[in-house]
Symmetry: C2
Subunit: 248 residues, 2 copies
């Protein structure tokens, strides 16, 4: 194991609200919104979408719609009226989207992407691309922050456990270190949860909220690792698939 | 178990920085700063201190000193030059303080007390008064928030585990419910840690920071439950011991 001073940092920020306390120290920001924005983005690229433009507001989403884009918009877990789809990963697994650039606005996830992009290279993280993402991050030799999107600025369990999985992987390589207690807690929570993530999250407030919306299929998909082995990164204002060999 | 609608809330806020997202929904705020402000306050009252005035700034602390008070001040884990003591619990276990009203300013803990007092009845929590505090809270029939003082506005493990212990106790009575994922995570972290809190925290950044300051004796004391079975509450600007029978 290398000395503390030479290893790169891997840390976890629990919500966008806390991001100002972290933002100046990292090269790569892994944005995580497991239920469901970043899972949907991974599913979309795995399905052959060419590009995805994340926008923060419904107004921006409508402007893109007026220009002829296919546009998804979700608030409070539901599709906003007048839009083509919400943030269910299944909406993106359809032939019509292959090769297209689509637009997406969600309650938490796209906001996180837009605040993170001022601070570093944005990469999209979820359980769906966990292993391929970790292997790619390991090669970058950069300071990495996992930014959990949370729920309305508050901590949520599913994003934290996903961040804990990334932290655990990178710390175990011996090339990365975690100094923040938030990163250590995320790792502990992942290690407790990893053998049964769905069961572990059954008490989670967000899962209960989504269950009320009949989203059990979405939840099972979003919590199952490595079903969409892609690495989407933000280039300018558009999320694109990275070429495996590219280093940021 | 009662219905969700009638049970009172017990929730956990991970740091003062997040407090604006929580502050309007609670009657009682349990302020926790395990290492070391709220532990020191419990030790002080257990030792017979009559009152303790928490102040946020060094300037206020100096004003009280000029008026003849015994004043403690700590920043970055160390006693501020020119003050009588810092936030080591052992500083308060001396005969000179019995029956006195003292003043304390610390990096995180006294700031939390001062932001919490606008939002509800402030009660002092630590591992040192864990059981007596939980039993008292159970009787209050109020919405309760555990406010972790954290470290420089960020999450820390020791305060969260203490909050998780309180949450676990109250939820198990059947009279309280937790809806926030932060409260559920705090409970999970406590349940993982409870058989060996010191061992669990050995990776914690704050413990490492204090270890560098040679505070191992303080840490062991602060993490050992029920050594100072007192319930200090804020009345006006002064923390006092509650009479067991009094309800807030």
């Amino acid at each position: 194991m290398e000395d503390n001073e030479t290893r790169k940092k891997i840390e976890v920020c629990f919500s966008p609200y806390l991001f100002p306390l972290f933002k100046d120290e990292f090269d790569i920001i892994v944005v995580i919104d497991v239920l469901r924005a970043t899972s949907a983005i991974c599913a979309a690229f795995d399905n052959g979408v060419a590009g995805l433009i994340p926008v923060s507001t419904i107004e921006e989403a409508r402007e893109y719609q007026a220009k002829g884009y296919l546009v998804g918009a979700e608030r409070q877990g539901q599709i906003v009226e007048g839009f083509d789809f919400g943030n269910s990963p299944y909406s993106y697994m359809v032939p019509e989207l292959k090769g297209k650039t689509v637009v997406l606005s969600t309650t938490n996830g796209t906001k996180s992407i837009n605040i993170a992009k001022e601070a570093g290279q944005v990469v999209i993280g979820s359980f769906l691309n966990l292993d391929v993402l970790c292997e790619w991050l390991e090669k970058q030799d950069k300071h990495i922050l996992c930014l959990c999107s949370g729920w309305q600025n508050k901590f949520n369990l599913e994003d934290t456990i996903c961040a804990g999985a990334i932290t655990d992987y990178l710390v175990n390589t011996g090339q990365f270190r975690s100094e923040e207690d938030s990163s250590i807690a995320a790792k502990y929570l992942f290690l407790s949860a990893k053998d049964n993530i769905l069961g572990y999250l059954k008490a989670s407030s967000h899962r209960r909220r989504l269950k009320n919306l009949n989203l059990n299929e979405d939840i099972k998909y979003c919590l199952t690792p490595n079903q969409a082995p892609v690495i989407p990164i933000l280039v300018g204002d558009t999320i694109q698939l990275i070429k495996e060999s590219v280093s940021v």
